[in-house]
């Protein structure tokens, strides 16, 4: 019986010695992303344009942050379901601080800074609690963070009573929707300051280069990619996810590390919430229908991480997020109804899991 099974399955060990297949297996998501970019450029008329790429990257900017935080948690062998609602909670609370300070007569700059840092600090609390529950009280991460999922959402709801938080200083919008540089055929280059244009044709031909939120996200991601891949803390994260007992025997302070990991996840969710305030110029609570946490987990897995822990990279996650965003946008630009887009994202996720499951030798990075 065992012999016939061996005959049935492909000899992965032999395959994994083939360098080309190894390379494809390890980078399938990236290769898939590039081929999708090429395919959609031919299929959709407006797909290949700077404006559309800005739209794709801005559309997934929240997901990019959430998934990057989730990467740390998943590598450590845990899961954080609360991120989407922590984002909503921070979005609401920091916008309330901004609105109220502004209404009380403080200058917009002070209101904005206080709101951003206030939101960031509040957003760390769920992470500390999640980490403490998982590390010290041994609550399974799924349950602990599911609890926080409800708490964060309930708090956000209580604070905003279901209404969006408006009446923020207008500078919020100007910062959140600014670009590093603009090029107008009429007025030439300008940095940070959007040129005043009145004609519709001129407005549409304005070239916008690198959105400010994306610049900030890139900066944060570089720092955390460095932490994950180059520091002791990063190494410990992989070891904890790979084998907790080995980590304890090696003298790693596992509980402290886990608390830090969940705080990182919460930190990313908070940054996402604050950026959302800047992008939308208002505070909104996270809708149940958005399922941010699930898409974040999906992106992390597509990016090569394993839900059992020990594997994954920030770069992989970025590719995972871009893959979901590009797939969605490309199909939308082709005019495909939303239902099919859901199906397509689902299929990609299943392929990712299959590759992870059946080709471990190919995907595993030494």
């Amino acid at each position: 019986m065992a012999k016939s099974n061996n005959d049935f399955f492909i000899d992965f060990e032999k395959l994994s010695r083939n360098r080309t297949i190894l390379l494809v297996g390890r980078n399938w998501a990236f290769i898939f992303l590039i081929s999708m970019l090429i395919l959609f450029s031919f299929l959709g008329k407006y797909f290949f344009s700077l404006r559309n790429f800005n739209n794709i990257i801005l559309g997934v900017s929240s997901l990019l942050l959430l998934a990057s935080g989730e990467t740390f948690v998943i590598i450590s062998g845990g899961i954080d379901l609360s991120i989407g609602f922590v984002m909503g909670f921070v979005c609401i609370s920091s916008s309330i601080i901004m609105r109220d300070l502004n209404a009380a007569g403080y200058s917009p700059i002070i209101s904005i800074i206080a709101g951003s840092f206030g939101g960031l600090l509040l957003g760390l609390i769920p992470g500390i609690i999640n980490g403490y529950l998982v590390a010290k009280l041994r609550v399974p991460p799924f349950i602990a963070t599911l609890g926080m999922w409800g708490i964060a959402n309930g708090l956000a709801w209580r604070l905003c009573e279901g209404f969006p938080i408006g009446f923020l200083p207008l500078q919020v919008r100007d910062i959140g929707n600014a670009y590093l540089a603009y090029f107008s055929p009429k007025k030439g280059f300008s940095f940070l300051i959007k040129p005043e244009l009145t004609e519709r044709g001129d407005i549409l031909s304005l070239v916008k280069i690198i959105p400010i939120p994306i610049l900030l996200i890139t900066f944060i991601l570089l720092i955390f990619a460095f932490i994950l891949s180059q520091t002791k803390f990063g190494q410990h994260t992989y070891i904890i996810g790979g084998n907790v007992d080995a980590a304890i025997r090696a003298g790693i302070n596992v509980p402290l590390n886990i608390i830090k990991i969940y705080m990182i996840s919460s930190f990313f969710a908070s940054v996402a919430g604050i950026l959302l305030v800047f992008k939308l110029n208002m505070g909104v609570h996270t809708q149940y229908t958005s399922s941010y946490e699930l898409f974040a987990i999906a992106a992390v897995v597509i990016g090569g991480a394993s839900l059992t822990g020990g594997k994954g990279t920030i770069w992989g996650t970025i590719i995972g997020v871009l893959l979901i965003g590009t797939l969605n946008n490309g199909l939308m630009m082709m005019g495909l109804p939303i239902f099919y887009r859901f199906i397509a994202t689902g299929c990609i996720l299943i392929i990712a899991i299959l590759i992870d499951q059946f080709f471990p030798e190919l995907v595993y990075r030494e």
């Binding site: 559309g59 929240s62 279901g162 209404f163 519709r200 549409l204 939308l280 909104v284 149940y288 939308m332």
Partner: protein, 322 residues
């Protein structure tokens, strides 16, 4: 131990008599459809009317998401109190809520459906869903047509329009979509270039409207069917620098949308009258319970259209959802 349990049961029994004895007031229950500004405003209108008439208003917990699976358990818990004289509710499904509400109605609690309805909403003809006393709410199809007509007026009867919807499985927003489609068809020079669904996520709505702007550089207007789709729409248009050039029409007059209208980022808001609907439910319910009055089977409170011209009128302020 036994004595303790018997003691507790006795106390419970006595307390339940006390609560029954206190219940001299009429009790009208309200079961909302979902936690959102629209139903909050409805509750406020109903509360004010209830206080005026000396009726006790009991409000069911607000479901966190739209759908019978969220609403029915809360609804059942609400009527299980056993002391409710009349129920008004927004059924979250035209079909799934029929047996549930029928059972409540059969147990002696008269029902009014508000904002949404059972079956096709016509309770006058023979059917298995004609047991509610009345439907009090908006005609979404008509509202969609009103928005189409108003936009046509703004655009001079010609141009391309885009529709940003929320969920393809909700009767109210689909009614708006169908009405809007029908309304636009009446103008031969107007064209609906696309429909997208953002599932109530504002970021998604913004990305979808951005894509529509990219595909149609000469887009004339966007209709966002509710708060979230509209906020995403005007965010996309404002960040493109096209506010005013691309008109934004929306539904539901929340304070944030009114603020955006005053800033010139939104051009038209169709306000329903949720406070009025809530008040009407309580008023007609009260009349039915106390005088046995005959209630009209369908009551439609109408719309109010906000534009930049009338948004500051004192008369208009009462239609803002607060």
């Amino acid at each position: 131990m036994k004595k303790l349990i018997i003691g507790i049961l006795l106390i419970c029994l006595v307390l339940s008599f006390v609560s029954v004895a206190c219940a001299a007031k009429l009790k009208i229950a309200f079961m909302p459809g979902i936690a959102d500004p629209f139903y909050f405003t409805m509750e406020k209108g109903a509360k004010a009317k209830a206080a005026e008439l000396g009726v006790e208003l009991i409000v069911g917990e607000y479901p966190k998401a739209w759908g019978p699976e969220y609403q029915v358990p809360i609804l059942k818990a609400l009527v299980a109190r056993g002391d409710i004289d009349l129920l008004f509710t927004a059924p979250t499904s035209t079909e799934a809520l029929i047996p549930v509400l029928k059972e409540i109605s059969d147990s002696g609690i008269p029902i009014i459906t508000v904002d949404t309805y059972l079956g096709d909403g016509d309770y006058t003809k023979p059917s298995n869903y004609n047991f509610p006393l009345a439907f009090i709410g908006t005609d979404n199809f008509l509202g969609g047509q009103v928005v189409a007509g108003q936009l046509a007026l703004m655009l001079g009867g010609k141009g391309k329009v885009f529709l940003e919807n929320t969920n393809p499985d909700v009767s109210s927003v689909m009614g708006r979509e169908l009405g809007f489609r029908a309304g636009i068809k009446m103008f031969p020079d107007m064209e609906l270039v696309g429909v997208e669904y953002c599932l109530d996520v504002q970021e998604t709505a913004a990305a979808q409207v951005n894509a529509a702007l990219l595909k149609n550089p000469d887009l004339g207007a966007v209709f966002g069917v509710n708060v979230f789709s509209a906020q995403g729409a005007y965010q996309a248009i404002t960040s493109a620098g096209l506010e005013g050039a691309v008109k934004v029409a929306t539904w539901d007059a929340t304070e944030t949308l009114i603020e955006a209208l005053k800033r010139g980022e939104v051009d038209l808001i169709l306000a329903q009258m949720p406070a009025e609907m809530g008040a009407l439910c309580v008023e007609w319910g009260f009349k039915y319970l106390t005088e046995g009055a005959e209630i009209p089977r369908k009551v439609i409170p109408g719309f109010f259209v906000f534009t930049q011209e009338n948004v500051n009128d004192p008369e208009a302020q009462k239609y803002i959802y607060k």
